[in-house]
Amino acid sequence: MFGAGNAIGVILGSVMGHYFYKKDVRIPALLMGSSIILTTIPMYAMINMKYDRDGGSIATASALTFLAGLLSIFPIPIERAILTNVTLPETRGRANSFLSIIDDLGKGLGPFLLSRIISSLGRKTAFNLSLIGWLVGGSISLGMICTVKKDEANIQTKIRDKISRRQAELNVVDVEEASDP
């Protein structure tokens, strides 16, 4: 069930991102930011709910986990797609590397810093505080709605200029060849 849900989440995120990208390039950024922010709701409920040892409580927690996983996986294909669309083809490798470094930095530093809070305030508070990361990150992602359209247009303009420059170079070569006896 969870495997099927996972597959559906990834495919749905990609398909929806692509579909809405065709409608408006800003919608994927909206989807990305809002799904990150919405992930905090099931995660908060899962962290703070009271667990009994009966099946119902565990089923509820599993459903919340399922929902959190589904929502949190949505931005992942969209994030890389946006990155691809706002960078030149030759710099995309570097852009992906930068993003991976930042991701790994947060992944490593997060538990290190929160371990200090856990020792003083407890795990529950630390978990709840960590969810602020999704609220902040989601809000910043929403900010891309204002920039992504212009940046994508800029990239296409740069590519067109590059093609024109290449053509101008070839024209110069032609003139030189023609003047060469």
Partner: protein, 183 residues
């Protein structure tokens, strides 16, 4: 031992990726596709009928009408030079001037430049790129913390059995690991 065994398939799959062809970089860019379409359209206009049949009057008339329609469609974009001619030149230069006009053209390819510090800085200064990088760190913090501490939290603080807490943790990990190896 199980951890060693489950890692074995990744060695083989990783090795197989060596044989995958590299996708042509930049070939699906909107600007490049526009150029390719333009070249194709121009080909349809300029390619004459078989020389053995001779250029008929009908063909000449159609060619004229097509050329007017073509000019009307593309005259607004003066930045675009004739890539059809560009490809011919490239073909001729590669064959020592012996390339034919239409039959032996190579498809247009995006000219990849080696990225340098200037292009990298320009990339990092792009507002969307800045936002993507800034949002990355706070977004990953809950992922990292949950991966490390959720299991203990559910088992020790919430009183769940180790099996159930593992099940919950694996569910989330399953999502995240399958969605993106970075998370």
């Amino acid at each position: 031992m199980p951890f060693l065994i489950v890692s074995i398939p990744s060695f083989f799959v990783g090795f197989l990726s060596y044989f995958l062809p590299d996708p042509e970089r930049g070939s699906q860019e909107k600007a490049v596709l526009e150029q390719v379409r333009r070249v194709d359209d121009e080909d349809q206009i300029l390619i004459p009928p078989d020389k053995e049949e001779g250029a008929s009057l009908e063909y000449e008339e159609k060619r004229e009408v097509d050329a007017i329609a073509y000019d009307a469609e593309f005259s607004h974009n003066s930045n675009f030079e004739n890539l059809h001619t560009q490809n011919q030149r490239m073909q001729k230069s590669s064959t020592g001037g012996q390339g034919s006009d239409h039959c032996e053209e190579e498809p247009y390819q995006y000219d990849i430049e080696k990225p340098d510090l200037k292009t990298t800085l320009a990339m990092v200064r792009t507002p969307t790129m800045i936002l993507l990088l800034i949002q990355g760190a706070p977004n990953v913090i809950p992922f990292g913390i949950t991966s490390v501490f959720l299991n203990d939290y559910l088992a020790q603080d919430k009183g769940l059995t180790t099996e159930v807490s593992n099940h919950m943790n694996i569910t989330l990990e399953f999502y995240w690991k399958n969605g993106n190896s970075n998370h």
